[in-house]
Symmetry: C2
């Protein structure tokens, strides 16, 4: 019963009006990125996700994956949908044509990802990891490995996995035990058990390529003794043909709260043949090429599922007749007014809309910098763009996925009791969104990465350009009195972010717990301020077009910006107060006192 239409108009707004397509056309290889071409790609992406992936969302959740003696069957229709995805050439949308990709901007690839997550987040996880796996192999793999494994990963005819977690080690990878024994022929034999492996086993492709971190016998203990290996499900001969089964198998799958159509596997390696990727003992660093790419992608899950939930909530709020508008009857010809007229329903809908659209701008802004970093010509600018991506990666991952859970819960609430039953699909969005706060590094880990690592790194090199940009923008726009209702709240919130940054930085030098205690509040504040900056930019664009024939769209944009500034951005005030309280309310309590009593 759920609906989903790719929000193409808003995506165009972000790409063409906010970021500016001409910025991308200027980059090497960008000459061919005509507006027509990009529009055509986006329309095809919308068709694929709306017509092929979305119809399998509820049925996939209902049916789930099935494990049988090491084999995993995905839900009905997934195989055909995956086939359509591969045949359409969607697997490596943003990869350069020289490696077999489509050469699209990262921002377009991110829109495609948002659409897939909105349509069917479980489905999106099968190709989702493959993109990162191809990137990993491309960046760190030997020529010989690339020749054998890269092309099918790029095309998506094989899928990739990321094998890090073991039962006793998630965040703390230094504890991992999986062993890789070197062989005389230069290969390794891997033995150990990995858990929570998304797409570790499935029936969509002929081969699955695992990227596994493991410990060699001579290596130092902890994180410095870990190396990265490629372990195929089936051995691949030099000519690319598939050989015998390797010593890796799926020993069970997890039963989860959501993303039930995505296989989450326990993978057991028994003397599995593997090949070293990159240098020995650089496994964790190298794996982070894939991990960072996944973190941004996971942020898009929060956005995609949030958008899907919003669309359904708006449709329901327009249809559902219940009570009369407090300010007077709106539909006298009907037995009651649609609930969209009730202020508290509008609060929920506008919160969803403002967060989704703000988060789309934020994710796109980061994607744009990915393009600058990959395709730029000036080394200094490339470095600066990469720094920006580094800074924003934990924010996109954690802030967008925290928003995703809040948004889908609001969507469920708009439906009342009908939201809690399975028929309308609203409760599935909540369950599917919830995992994104956890995997690829919990949101607590992201916050610590921001407040404990990115913030102090290189004497503030990551933060300074962002602070400079926003501060300059505020200064430039402050003269404009008609913009005051937007600039003033931004300036106030930005001031809080500056104050919080200074405080954490100063306290953190003496007491590392201070950054840890402030980190979650700080990341949320950062996300809100970055979005607020983009909302003002959106207003600058929209207010020039309120006389166009898309008046409703542009006026809605400005009204949503106003809602964000007045009703959501003030959260920075209490976040700041909580940060200023410091670590002692958390740390000065003996662990016995946690009870329970």
């Amino acid at each position: 019963m759920a609906v989903y239409k790719a929000p193409l108009r808003d995506m165009q707004f972000v790409l063409k009006e906010l970021i500016g397509l001409e910025q991308l056309q200027k980059l090497p290889g960008g000459e061919e990125l005509s507006e027509d071409l990009i529009d055509a790609v986006m329309i095809e992406a919308a068709k694929l996700t709306e017509n092929i992936m979305f119809p399998l969302n509820a049925s996939g959740d209902e049916e789930g994956c099935t494990w049988n003696n090491g084999e995993v069957r995905t839900p009905k229709g997934f195989k055909e949908a995956y086939q359509a995805f591969v045949e359409g050439g969607w697997s490596a949308l943003a990869l350069a044509p020289e490696y077999g990709g489509q050469g699209m901007p990262e921002i377009v690839s991110m829109f495609m990802e948002e659409m897939m997550c909105a349509a069917n987040v479980s489905f999106s996880l099968y190709p989702g990891l493959t993109r990162g796996a191809a990137l990993l192999l491309l960046t760190h793999g030997s020529q010989e490995l690339k020749q054998r494994f890269l092309d099918p990963l790029v095309k998506g005819t094989w899928t990739g996995t990321m094998c890090l977690t073991e039962a006793h080690c998630g965040t703390d990878l230094g504890l991992l035990r999986t062993k890789a024994m070197p062989q005389k022929d230069g290969t390794y034999r891997l033995t150990g058990t990995k858990i929570f492996i998304s797409s570790g086993e499935h029936d969509l492709t002929d081969n699955i390529i695992h990227f596994v971190i493991a410990r060699t016998p001579e290596g130092p203990p902890g994180i410095r003794g870990i190396s990265l290996f490629l372990v195929p499900k089936f051995i691949v001969h030099q000519d690319g043909s598939i050989g015998e089964r390797n010593g890796v198998k799926c020993t069970s799958i997890e039963h989860k709260m959501g993303i039930k159509a995505s296989s989450t596997c326990v993978m057991t390696f028994e003397e599995a043949e593997g090949y070293l990727i990159g240098d020995l003992y650089k496994g964790v660093t190298n794996m982070f090429t894939m991990m960072n790419s996944e973190r941004v992608a996971v942020g898009n899950q929060g956005l995609g599922v949030g958008e899907a939930s919003y669309q359904n909530a708006v449709a329901y709020a327009r249809e559902r007749l219940q009570g009369r508008s407090l300010s007077g009857i709106k539909c006298p010809d009907k037995p009651a007014d649609p609930i969209i007229w009730h202020p508290d329903v509008r609060r929920m809908l506008l919160t969803m809309k403002a967060l989704n659209e703000g988060n789309r701008m934020l994710a796109s802004w980061v994607a744009f910098h990915l393009d600058l970093a990959h395709r730029g010509t000036n080394e200094e600018e490339k470095k600066a763009a990469d720094d920006f991506v580094q800074l924003m990666t934990p924010i996109v991952k954690a802030y967008l996925t925290d928003c995703g859970v809040d948004i889908t819960n609001l969507g469920l609430q708009v439906f009342g009791g009908h939201g809690y039953i399975r028929d309308y699909g609203m409760e599935q969005y909540v369950r599917d969104a919830r995992i994104a706060q956890i995997y690829e590094g919990t949101n607590g880990v992201q916050s610590l990465d921001l407040a404990g690592r990115k913030m102090p790194a290189h004497m503030g090199r990551y933060l300074r350009p962002f602070f400079h940009l926003v501060s300059q923008f505020i200064e430039d726009q402050q003269q404009d009195k008609s913009l005051q209702e937007f600039i003033d709240p931004l300036a106030k919130a930005f001031g809080r972010l500056q104050q919080a940054t200074l405080t954490i930085a100063q306290k953190g030098i003496k007491a590392p717990d201070e950054a840890g205690a402030a980190s979650t509040d700080y990341l949320k504040m950062f996300g809100l301020v970055a979005s607020a900056y983009l909302w003002v930019r959106a207003v600058l664009v929209a207010r020039q077009k309120t006389e166009s024939n898309e008046k409703v769209f542009y006026e809605g944009k400005i009204a949503t910006a106003r809602f964000f500034m007045q009703k959501l951005l003030p959260q920075t005030s209490s976040l700041n107060a909580s940060i200023m309280a410091g670590a002692h309310p958390l740390m000065d309590i003996p662990q016995e006192a946690f009870g329970p009593f």
Copy 2:
């Protein structure tokens, strides 16, 4: 794998040290409420919930209810557990002995309810509604109906339901269509379909008594034409024996996000025999006797499930070894430190602890006033106590259940990936907690009841005593410098609540949308301030006992109060800013502008 122990020590703290058992002993019939008696009852309640109900929680979720041709089978073990509940005389714990109850204070009954919800919220719904049904019959039923139906409802040998919602009408009961045709013998014949009926059909008891609102043919339209009827599943003869099947049947059950072991039924009435309860056309008002009781009970679901989630999260945080404490190694003999040493994990645990313990105080405070209202001797005091219950009912319902969802989500997050899989039970708490924000009036409806009805009613009669109490308390305690760290934040937050109240009241006179737009923020602010007041009272008690042999408990209490004041109460700041923004950011946007685009 989940654990649950009834938090008896904290309950004793609230009852004996915060509220004061002597307050209850002073009331008529209270002489016999010795400390020993109450302790014994609480210990038995703990045993029943921990040993009988809790072990069925995960299996009940897994199995769910089964519908077959109008019959509903509850999960394995539920029948025996219900039998134990009835045989133990738990069904009417707080009802006066003259009606067959146990005469326990409401506060003890509420503790029992918390334990049941913590142990097995699905199970708790079968007896849960029966208590309210008995109260409804007792208050509004004729002597003849009481004689036939009251005793089995009080004993719990039959269960009760509340039949309000129809497919097209939830909040807006004025739209309801179920018809009640008067018969010559004074009975009625009911025809119509009710949905979302908890415990509408099950296999736990021999009879089920439905309390149904419906429309008689001559009545005025809208809410003023609705009357309340008792409709038994089986006709009951004058001598109390069970006769033939009545014309009401369960035509299907819902598949839901959670509370899967609770049957949520579509009930179809076809000329079902029913008996008028109370006056004609007073159905909705009379039904609210049951509804208000249920609203407080639903608040306890948020608290109970939150407590269960907390206990598991603390246990896991002590066991799970991952990473090293930022301020130095805590367990050098282990490969890593327990995650309870990480500041961000403490943030999650302390948020859970502070909200649960604050909410337990809040619910108990209201329960204490229920006793005052029911058993008091002075009419003026009884009225005042009832006013307080009226004021706090929407807050207990909405604030506690909003907290319940936040808390259970934090509990899941503490477990990381292990929280998302079904094995540990953490994700079930989230799913089970989620319904409580919806049923018995969505939390949006509760907020509107507070800000739009209770606040302006009788020129502020409901609010004034609360404001006076807190304001006097602050004045009395402000001299005490050692209390400053607690009183100052309370005073600040209370000032915001006063400001918000004034603003909403003033704006609301001219524009009713203003109260609606502010309502959710206002209710949360009210809940936070009321808890803050109780937290300071808890500190006053605890700081006199830090030299006792329960030093850890009392110092933990003070530290938790500090955390609440410094890290949670500042939320009142952003809530206030959002309230001050008024209704226009919500209402000045045409409904077309909601898109989606």
